[in-house]
């Protein structure tokens, strides 16, 4: 699967993934009205959760339509759907399917991880299939999932088995983008190294179990907000593809990200969520007002892609 992601990045010349984390405050009021109107026309009564969930599906579809020729992938964040209960999860599933129909690779940002048998169920749920009375059925069936390493190898191995059986991939949290990520991840171990470097070594070991060309189907999450650690981790994990959140709204720039890429300008994909989804609320993209929220998302994605292309071009020269 990682080779498919790399081909898609090359084809679009855009190492960019759009994070589909649709906070309700990003959703234009009009989409809530449309959801209510359609439900009324169909004789359905809509709970608040269902109204929000249907409006978010409209929003996601609009964003996907606006960016699907520009970027290789989207990354829905499951928390943002779970908070609307079952209707939210219906929207999550429909979002995954819609993005895949539009040719996009889907990274399920679920950050799951548990003891062995339970991780196997999570891997089946999000990437693989569950056997029911002798027949295998697909679950949410994303292309990649994010995974938490705190429980060690036996929590990760079931995901790798599914990567191999179903041609999927994972990104393991190594150094996250948030301000307090250092509390445990940066802890100095007895031999003077930071904990995240031990996690990185394990990720490399796990990566060898699912190689797919130059890179492994086992990737790593490294926050764009930590450029020094990104440089260190790029060197420590030469076959590990990096998913880098934190660009834009969380404060990282293209310059911060240069060393996350390999010598060919590959090996990394950068996520932006709010910066693209909520672009219509920012003065720079607000020329056409709320009605043009999808155009604003497209313009913001183009700006981000140009920013990264420019920085990678400058580095080559």
């Amino acid at each position: 699967m990682i080779s498919r992601l790399m081909e898609a990045i090359r084809a679009k010349d855009a190492p960019v993934v759009v994070g589909l984390d649709p906070n309700l405050s990003f959703i234009p009021e009009k989409l809530l009205q449309e959801s209510r109107a359609q439900a009324a026309a169909e004789g359905r009564t809509l709970t608040g959760q269902a109204c929000a969930a249907e409006a978010i599906l409209r929003f996601n579809q609009g964003v996907i339509d606006a960016v699907c020729d520009l970027v290789p992938a989207v990354k829905p964040q499951s928390a943002m759907y779970e908070q609307f209960g079952l209707p939210g999860l219906v929207t999550y599933e429909k979002t995954v399917r819609y993005a895949q129909q539009k040719g996009l690779i889907v990274i399920a940002d679920v950050k799951r991880g548990d003891i062995g048998s339970t991780s196997a169920a999570y891997a089946a749920a999000h990437l693989g299939e569950t056997v029911i009375e002798g027949r295998a059925e697909r679950g949410f069936d994303a292309d990649f999932a994010t995974v938490n390493p705190y429980l060690g190898t036996d929590g990760i191995k079931p995901f790798i088995d599914v990567c191999n059986a179903c041609d999927k991939g994972i990104f393991v949290l190594v150094k996250t983008s948030n301000p307090s990520s250092g509390e445990f991840q940066d802890v100095k171990t007895a031999d003077g190294r930071a904990l995240y470097t031990l996690v990185a070594e394990k990720v490399r070991e796990w990566g060898r179990l699912s190689m797919d060309g130059r890179y492994s189907n086992v990737g790593a999450v490294v926050g764009a907000t930590y450029p020094e650690q990104g440089k260190e981790l790029r060197a420590l994990m030469p076959e590990i593809f990096i998913l880098a959140p934190g660009y834009g709204a969380q404060g990282a720039s293209a310059a911060d990200l240069l060393h996350f890429f390999d010598e060919n300008g590959e090996g990394c994909i950068v996520n932006s969520s709010r910066g693209i989804l909520a672009a219509w609320q920012k003065p720079a993209y607000a020329a056409n007002g709320e009605a043009d929220w999808a155009g604003a998302a497209r313009a913001a994605a183009e700006t981000m892609i140009e920013d990264l292309r420019g920085a990678l071009r400058d580095r080559r020269q």
Copy 2:
């Protein structure tokens, strides 16, 4: 919320939580047949996922009916529901509601954790409420949730805010029960201590933000399979209630658990999943065959409760 759990444990004299991790292999064939028959009677066609999910709901309701006068709480494991897609999550939600109607406290074993704004959405989804157009709506609304600490304070704080706002609780993974839990959790830090002791200190710090009587609404997961670490962690975290998985099928005994309890025989609740759910498949409880799966679950729960009561009684003498 922790004081409510402690009262319920006292009232039933049973520091036991039944893990509702219904692997399909534990579900008597009859329940799948009943689900299909009911769907046919109602003119519904059932996918494999929906058939499994409806059979699991029947199973959970039977287990809950069988144990609700014996134990204070149940712990559904979300992976086991997510693997059956949306129908699985319908069963998850109905299981939470059914258990609460039967007077049980529900610990949602979701092991979520993310950066701040995303953790806030997870906390709203599983414990709290989401505001939609000015109206607050409850999500899955369990009483406790398990949480992963790898992202540090800003991933935990939003859960604590919901604990305080909605009278809920969390259990933070400190030392998990699985064989490879030591890979990162036991890493020796520069001052010679294991990483899990640093996590324990943070949990104690977080715990002070939501005290509820002698214990905090912020608890810890400590695997029953690591008795020495349990003893150490009990001493390190005097106000932190421990959720201990790993009894029975994972190999821990009542003797292993004694030091997880405080001097009053409180401060810990022990989980068993497979040992109770799949009791009907074990020779010791199979006298009445598959038809008596609920009776076998009740008998296994009684045995476990007696085992723990006996060990705690012996310690007092």
